[in-house]
């Protein structure tokens, strides 16, 4: 065994701290009770219209649903009721988050990985995958390329490996925050204002390192909540093979002080209805223990990955029709939480599910390590199977997606104000549940949209965007909420809007 292998093996052996799992168990059990979930799904069969409508009404009033209620919605067969759920989904989203869709970009910093997940192109045994860990200089170049597209919020993605351990992640967050890049039009300077992280589960001590450098949201997907499937997909002799270490990753993050956490499941590994229930139980356990649910929920569908039979042939692949349904049920079940639809999905479907109540999306997306700088250098534009975790369904630019949203009457937001103003944890939960956060969102969406239109937008997008801004300004002018306390907030917004028009950047409320 070589020294390098030994080092990796030793590192791997020390990652999992059993006491940081055991402390969250109740009678030695975790919060996923599979028999109970299936029983609830079974009990919810053939619901009456009245029962379903009452549950929809409860969600419309922004109450988080109980598992029995979610299970009932999952059993709906009536197309009319599904249409109603889609409509109410958007209504809920507008109440809580207003008319904006927040943009982010994934940035892959490393694809070395000690795991062997059957559905992932980055798995250790996939010798076809080209491996790389960005150096500090490379991550600066990559960040500048990404910022040049107009992005302000990123999710940094890391494989699980000693070369991309917590120290590397913390250092990379610091470096990314430092990078400034001029806008293509020369009208302003851009930088990343919020670094969210998608990385493997860590111990509390390591999570504190990320907290200390100003991490945004910490995101860990359980992939599947079904234990047998989890075991089949993640070999037991790997770090990821430990189901409970992953299940409590976000509990540990909360203990480390990171009060913005994000959950998700990879749809297509197991029955989609079970996974929706798993996400709900995860939400409930976080709420019960910390008083705070997840900041966002993701529901990626499994896509083709390099040399992975599972990714192509799973019996649990989710159809477009069922995908829309699962998004709607999640929207109704957890009204206060952000929902993320990504560029994994094709443009047409993204457009449809945004209308069901998604709050965040990505564009200009590159998911190879160093993918943004490759493109900026005139290099690879097409997707490369052996350099990516999976293949994307939508490779449109920011400008194209923002233009489409403008055509739909929606405003794109690059706002990152919340976590820079203490609207986190319990505070954000309170604000979301009382529909106050959406009011902040509206103002900050306009300020950041103005920046985007002036610094990055094509003429065609700018033209459409101006119409959206005018409509938003008109609404803001009419809303009593902004006139409270002698209208200070309204006046402040107009002062800041004027400053942005005159070239000031990164102002927020």
């Amino acid at each position: 065994m070589s020294t390098t292998t030994m080092t990796t093996a030793q590192w791997t052996k020390n990652v999992i701290k059993q006491d940081e799992i055991d402390r969250y168990l109740t009678d030695d059990k975790d919060f996923i009770n599979e028999d109970l979930i299936w029983q609830q799904i079974k009990d919810g069969r053939d619901p009456s219209r009245e029962v379903v409508e009452a549950i929809i009404e409860k969600a419309r009033n922004l109450n988080r649903l109980e598992p029995e209620e979610t299970a009932t919605l999952l059993n709906v067969k009536d197309d009319e009721l599904w249409e109603k759920m889609f409509e109410v989904g958007l209504e809920i989203k507008r109440k809580v988050y207003d008319n904006r869709v927040v943009f982010f970009a994934p940035m892959y910093l490393s694809n070395l990985c000690v795991n062997n997940c059957a559905y992932c192109g980055f798995r250790e045994e996939n010798k076809h995958e080209k491996r790389h860990v960005l150096t500090l200089d490379e991550m600066k170049t990559e960040t500048a390329a990404l910022v040049s597209e107009g992005h302000k919020r990123i999710i940094a993605v890391y494989g699980e490996h000693p070369k991309s351990n917590a120290d590397y992640i913390a250092k990379s967050i610091e470096e990314i925050y430092k990078v400034k890049a001029p806008s293509p039009k020369g009208t302003g300077t851009g930088h990343v204002r919020r670094v969210n992280v998608n990385a493997a589960p860590m111990c509390i001590e390591d999570l504190k390192k990320l907290w200390n450098v100003g991490i945004g949201t910490y995101q860990v997907f359980q992939e599947t909540y079904h234990k047998e499937t989890y075991k089949n997909m993640h070999p037991e002799n790997t770090l990821k093979g430990n189901y409970q270490w992953r299940l409590y990753a976000l509990h540990r993050a909360m203990e480390a002080g990171i009060d913005d956490v994000a959950i998700g499941a990879l749809f297509g590994l197991y029955d989609w209805r079970f996974e929706v229930m798993g996400l709900l139980y995860h939400t409930i356990d976080l709420e019960q223990r910390f008083g705070i649910g997840p900041h966002t929920i993701s529901f990626p569908r499994m896509m083709h990955a390099s040399h992975s039979d599972v990714s192509d042939n799973s019996e649990y692949k989710v159809s477009d029709e069922d995908f829309k349904k699962l998004v709607a049920v999640l929207r109704l079940s957890v009204p206060y939480t952000g929902l993320i639809i990504t560029a994994r999905e094709k443009a047409e479907l993204r457009k449809e599910v945004i209308k069901i109540g998604c709050t965040q999306t990505d564009a200009s997306t590159r998911i190879g390590v160093g993918g943004y700088s490759d493109k900026a250098d005139g290099g690879k534009v097409e997707q490369v199977d052996d350099e990516q975790q999976f293949l994307l369904g939508d490779t449109r630019t920011c400008d194209e997606v923002i233009r489409e949203l403008a055509e739909m009457g929606m405003i794109t937001s690059f706002c990152t104000a919340g976590y820079r103003c203490g609207r986190t944890g319990e505070k954000i939960m309170g604000l979301l549940q009382e529909c106050v956060e959406g009011k902040f969102c509206k103002l900050n969406a306009v300020l950041t949209y103005r920046e985007y239109l002036d610094d990055y937008a094509s003429e065609e997008t700018k033209k459409l965007g101006e119409k959206v801004i005018l409509k938003e300004l008109e609404q803001i002018g009419k809303m009593e909420f902004y006139r409270k306390g002698s209208g200070k907030l309204y006046d402040l917004f107009h002062k800041l809007y004027k400053e942005v028009q005159e070239g000031q950047r990164d102002v927020f409320i």
């Binding site: 450098v213 100003g214 203490g422 604000l431 009382e434 409270k484 306390g485 002698s486």
Partner: protein, 85 residues
């Protein structure tokens, strides 16, 4: 979270005091780089807009909709003094 429970209790008491005595709403945040994480104060919705740094890792958000800049200066002074004690 690096601030002790005792400090957080002091902050909670201050929030209550300002609310009761002067009708000023505020909440405290632990500051880590860009991140201001809520740690003490009212979790309900109001329009706190003023961000004031108290110490390297502690900030306060004050609802300035019905107070003057001078009031805010005084509030910050009082907070700093109480924390010193």
């Amino acid at each position: 979270m690096s601030l002790s429970k005792e400090i957080i209790q002091v902050l909670e008491r201050m929030v209550k005091k300002f609310q009761e005595a002067y009708n000023i709403e505020m909440y405290f945040c632990e500051v880590m780089g860009n991140r201001w994480s809520f740690i003490a104060g009212d979790t309900h919705g109001y329009l706190a807009q003023r961000r004031e740094i108290i110490t390297k890792n502690l900030g306060v958000m004050i609802d300035d909709s019905s107070v003057t800049d001078k009031d805010i200066e005084n509030v910050v002074k009082i907070i700093r003094k109480e924390l010193d004690e």
